[in-house]
Point group: C2
């Protein structure tokens, strides 16, 4: 299978209110709470990262349950992650991003507990977003100075 | 500064259509294109990850421009990333997640090119989502078997 390239084009709407387009008809709005200077018209990007992880795990679970012999009744995922925001504010020696991310994968299925535990491990290793966070992609930042 | 914990609660609405709530009044919808079995009611989680990265870089740029001596007129970010989906489909030895992520940070500012290039490097290292992808968080997956 060839490489698939995914895209997002992020533009400022107003203040911290941002519109992210996938160039394919869909978008998300990210913002900051009023206490952080935003208008609270969307979740913030850190919550966006957690959402994409939980959604990717949920989709992997839905996509592969049947093939893995799981009679899935329901799946939902609660994700939480810890950041020391003093790193963002410039404190030396403090990790800027998430220090720990906890993903609770709730599964209701007509299977044994062991089969479900195995399936959760399968979801973990099969989720592209999770893999990207666990096994860093090469990230290239390209400045484009507008004159 | 204390640790801040961010959250997202991901539930299936229908098929691959997922609603992700930050438990604070905001949500995003993720879905898959019809060709992937979805209803195309939202971007997919991989595009969500790229969006959260681009949005986080944009916000870091907006938040710190003045303090860094940048007279910012505009900033927008185009993010793209490559995945070989055969990894997701189970091919051995293929990275499941993004192999490379390219983020083009467009900046219009009344500054020299060198000052703007420096500012882009500042944005790169100050963006919590980018740091999370570059310097992996500890990710813990907790199965919860519903009986």
């Amino acid at each position: 299978m060839a490489i698939t390239t995914f895209r997002s084009n992020v533009k400022v709407q107003d203040g911290f209110t941002l519109k992210c387009d996938n160039n394919n008809g869909n978008h998300v709005i990210f913002d900051e709470p009023e206490a952080m200077g935003g208008k609270d018209l969307g979740m913030n990007p850190c919550e966006g990262l957690l959402s994409s992880l939980g959604a990717c795990q949920t989709m992997a679970g839905k996509a592969f349950a049947k093939a893995r012999g799981i009679n899935l009744n329901d799946i939902w995922v609660e994700v939480e992650g810890d950041i020391d925001l003093s790193g963002f504010m410039g404190a030396e020696g403090v990790k800027v991003g998430f220090q720990e991310i906890r993903s609770t994968i709730h599964i209701s299925a007509d299977n044994t507990e062991e089969e479900i535990q195995d399936f959760v491990r399968f979801i973990e290793r099969t989720c592209p977003v999770g893999d990207t966070i666990n096994n860093p992609a090469k990230i290239v930042a390209i400045p484009n100075v507008i004159k």
